[in-house]
C-alpha cells in the first residue's frame, strides 16, 4: 500500500464498496482509515439512504449521511392541486402510518379555515391514528429485531401489524395509501361490527406483543447490541430538534398529544413513557411501552364514541349529500364549485403539528385565498432525526450503525418528501 495505490473491493449490487487508502505516502498500514459507503440500496438499511463512514478498524471516525434518494417534490406538487387532492400525496410520506399524515394535513387546513371537525370524526381520527401508531412501532421494532438476528420477533410483529391493517382496511378500504382524511372530517364512518373486530384483533396483537417482549426485552444478545449505543443526552436531543420516541428516549417529556392536544386528545387517559439514558435500548423500550398506551386510547375511543356527523355540514368545505346534489340547483352548484375549485381558505398561514409515529409531524401551509395552497411544507421527523445520525455514530462500531438506524426509524417517503 505504500506506493499510494488504492484497494477497491466491490461486493455486488448495493453492497459495500471499500476503499482503503494511506493517509500519506510512507505511512504504514496501521494508520489507515477506510471509507465504507453503505447504501443507497443496502439490505440492512431498509430505506434508500447512503451513509458514508470513515472507519479506523471498526470504529466510525467520521460519517456523512446522504438523504434525498426518494425525493419526489411533494411540496412543489402540493402547490399545483387543491387542498383535498393533497391527501393522496400525504399517504406517501410516512407510508407505515398514512392515516396520521392525512389527519395532520386536514387539521392544518381546518386551522386555516377556522373550523373544527365534528366530535365523532375527531374520535375516529384518534382511533385510527393510534392503530397506525402501533403499526408504525411494530414495523420499526420488527425490522430492527430482524436486523439483529431475531427473525421470529419480526414475524410476530408483522403478523400483529397485519391484524391492525385489517382494521384500517375495514374502515378506509385500503391498507397503505388510504386517503381517508377529508378537510372537515373523515371519508367514511366505522363499520357496524368494527368494535367486535377491533377487540378480537387487539387480543391477538397483545398476545404477539407478549411473545415479542419475552423474546427481546431481556434477551442478552439484544441488550448487548442496544444498551449504551448511540447515547444522546436530553440537552443533545433537544439541540438536534428531535421529537417523538427519540426525544422521549432521552427522558424529555414532550408529546404533542399532551402538550398541544388536537382532535380531543385531552379527553383520553394515557401515559407518556420516558427513557432514562437516551440509548438505543431506551428508544426501543419507549416504543414498546407506547404501543400499549395506544391500544388503551383506542379502547377508550371506541367505548366513548359519540354519535353525530363525521364531516362538517358546510357545502363549501365538504361535499353535500347526493340527494341534495341531484335534486336541488344549490346543491348541484355547491358540488360543482367544490369539485372544480376546491376548498378556499382565507388568506393567511398556519402551522399545525400532530404526533406522528416518529415524532412531531408538522405542516406549514400558506394560503393566498385560492383553492390551491400557495406553499405547503412538511416538518418531517425522519428528516430531522437523520440530522443527528452523525453525532450518534461517531465513536461507535460499524455494527452499531444498523440498530441505531433502526431506532431512528427513517421512513424514506417522509424523510425525502
Amino acid at each position: 500500500m505504500s506506493d499510494g495505490k488504492l484497494l477497491e473491493i466491490d461486493v455486488g449490487v448495493g453492497g459495500l464498496t471499500t476503499s482503503a487508502r494511506p493517509r500519506a505516502l510512507g505511512d504504514d498500514l496501521h494508520s489507515e482509515t477506510m471509507i465504507v459507503s453503505m447504501g443507497p440500496t443496502h439490505p440492512a438499511t431498509h430505506g434508500t439512504i447512503r451513509i458514508v463512514t470513515e472507519l479506523s478498524g471498526e470504529k466510525i471516525v467520521d460519517a456523512d449521511v446522504d438523504v434525498g434518494y426518494l425525493h419526489r417534490g411533494f411540496e412543489k406538487m402540493c402547490e399545483t392541486v387543491d387542498y383535498n387532492q393533497v391527501m393522496p400525496y400525504t399517504d406517501r410520506l410516512n407510508y407505515v402510518s398514512p392515516v396520521i399524515n392525512n389527519f395532520g394535513w386536514c387539521l392544518t387546513v381546518e386551522k386555516l379555515l377556522g373550523i373544527e371537525a365534528p366530535k365523532r370524526a375527531q374520535y375516529i381520527r384518534v382511533l385510527l391514528s393510534e392503530i397506525s401508531r402501533v403499526s408504525d412501532h411494530l414495523t420499526c421494532l420488527g425490522a430492527s429485531a430482524m436486523e439483529l438476528g431475531a427473525f421470529t420477533v419480526m414475524l410476530y410483529m408483522m403478523e400483529a401489524r397485519e391484524f391492525l391493517w385489517d382494521l384500517i382496511e375495514e374502515v378506509t378500504g385500503a391498507r397503505l395509501t388510504v386517503s381517508y382524511g377529508r378537510v372537515g372530517g373523515v371519508k367514511d364512518d366505522l363499520t357496524p361490527d368494527f368494535a367486535e373486530k377491533m377487540a378480537e384483533a387487539f387480543k391477538k396483537v397483545r398476545a404477539h406483543l407478549v411473545n415479542s417482549d419475552r423474546l427481546m426485552t431481556r434477551n442478552r444478545i439484544f441488550i448487548d447490541r442496544m444498551c449504551d449505543i448511540a447515547v444522546l443526552t436530553a440537552e443533545e436531543a433537544i439541540s438536534y430538534s428531535l421529537t417523538g420516541p427519540m426525544l422521549r428516549g432521552s427522558g424529555v417529556n414532550y408529546d404533542v398529544r399532551k402538550a398541544f392536544p388536537y382532535s380531543s386528545y385531552e379527553e383520553f387517559e394515557f401515559e407518556v413513557p420516558l427513557g432514562s439514558k437516551g440509548d438505543n435500548y431506551d428508544r426501543f423500550l419507549v416504543r414498546f411501552a407506547e404501543m400499549e398506551q395506544s391500544l388503551r386510547i383506542c379502547e377508550q375511543a371506541i367505548t366513548r364514541l359519540p354519535q353525530g356527523p363525521i364531516i362538517v355540514e358546510d357545502p363549501h368545505i365538504a361535499l353535500a349529500p347526493k340527494d341534495e346534489v341531484y335534486n336541488s340547483i344549490d346543491g348541484m352548484i355547491n358540488h360543482f364549485e367544490l369539485v372544480m375549485y376546491g376548498v378556499k381558505p382565507p388568506k393567511g398561514e398556519a402551522y399545525q403539528a400532530v404526533e406522528g409515529g416518529n415524532g412531531e409531524l408538522g405542516y406549514y401551509v400558506v394560503s393566498d385565498g385560492t383553492g390551491k395552497p400557495y406553499r405547503a411544507h412538511v416538518r418531517a421527523p425522519s428528516f430531522i432525526h437523520m440530522g443527528s445520525m452523525r453525532k450518534m455514530l461517531l465513536g461507535a462500531n460499524i455494527s452499531d450503525l444498523i440498530p441505531t438506524f433502526g431506532m431512528v426509524n427513517m421512513i424514506g417517503g417522509e424523510c425525502d418528501r
Binding site: G4, K5, L6, E8, T17, S19, R21, I35, S37, V52, E54, D62, D64, D66, V67, G68, H71, G73, E75, K76, T80, K111, L112, G114, E236, I238, S239, Y240, S241, L242, T243, V252, N253, Y254, K258, A259, F260, G348, E349, A350, Y351, A353, E360, G362, Y364, V366, Y374, R375, H377, R379, F383, I384, M386, G387, S388, K391, D416, R417
Partner: protein, 203 residues
C-alpha cells in the same frame, strides 16, 4: 415544567419585555395569526433575536422545530421570507419567527451555533430556495444532487423543468471524497489514473 400550554398573551408580554432592552419597538413586529404568535424581525437582527429567545430564562425556546421559506415573487418588497418555528419545552409555547430576505443575494445568519438541528433544516432551505446561511459549517445541497441547476421550490422554477444529464459518477472514491470534504482523496485518485491504471476503462 408546565403540563399544558400557557396563554399566548403572556408570551406576548414576556417576549416584548425581553426584547425591549435589545430591540426597538420598530424592529419587532408581533401579531397573532390563527391563534399563534408571529414575530417579524429584520434580517440583520435574526441571530440576536433567536439567541435571546433561546437563552432568556423567561422565554426558553430551547427546541428549533422547523426552518422553511416562502417565495413571494413580486407580491412583496422582499422576495423571500424565512420562517422559523420555535418551541419552548419548559413553558409549552410556540413562536413563529419571520424574516424577509431580498432577491439579489439572499443571505441570512445561520442558527447552527444555537441549535445543531438547524444544520439539516438550513441545508434544505438552501437547496430548495437558494437562500445562503452565513456561518453554516456545511452548506451543501441535501435532497437534490450537487449538479442540480436552480432551486426547485422557487416560484419561477418550472414544474416540469428538465435538468441536464450529469456524467456517470464512476469513481466511488472521488464521490466520497467530495462528500467528506477530503480533497486529498481526489488527488490520490488522479495520481492513480495518471500512472496508467486501466482498471476503470476495463469496467
Amino acid at each position: 415544567m408546565v403540563t399544558s400550554a400557557r396563554p399566548i398573551e403572556e408570551l406576548r408580554q414576556v417576549l416584548a419585555a425581553a426584547c425591549g432592552q435589545r430591540l426597538s419597538q420598530a424592529d419587532l413586529d408581533l401579531s397573532t395569526e390563527r391563534g399563534d404568535l408571529v414575530a417579524r424581525i429584520k434580517a440583520a437582527d435574526i441571530f440576536e433575536f433567536l439567541k435571546l429567545c433561546k437563552e432568556s430564562s423567561d422565554l426558553c425556546f430551547n427546541l428549533l422545530v422547523d426552518v422553511t421559506a416562502v417565495d413571494w415573487m413580486d407580491a412583496r418588497e422582499h422576495r423571500f421570507e424565512v420562517v422559523y418555528q420555535l418551541l419552548s419545552l419548559t413553558n409549552l409555547w410556540r413562536l413563529t419567527v419571520k424574516v424577509s430576505v431580498g432577491e439579489g443575494n439572499p443571505e441570512i445568519a445561520s442558527a447552527t451555533p444555537l441549535w445543531n438541528g438547524a444544520n439539516f433544516l438550513e441545508r434544505e432551505v438552501w437547496d430548495m430556495f437558494g437562500i445562503r446561511f452565513v456561518g453554516h459549517p456545511d452548506l451543501r445541497r441535501i435532497l437534490m444532487y450537487e449538479e442540480f441547476v436552480g432551486h426547485p421550490l422557487r416560484k419561477d422554477y418550472p414544474l416540469q423543468a428538465k435538468q441536464p444529464r450529469i456524467p456517470l459518477r464512476m469513481p466511488e472514491v472521488e464521490n466520497t471524497a467530495r462528500q467528506m470534504h477530503r480533497p486529498d482523496l481526489v488527488t490520490i485518485r488522479s495520481r492513480r489514473s495518471g500512472s496508467g491504471d486501466t482498471k476503470q476503462e476495463a469496467r
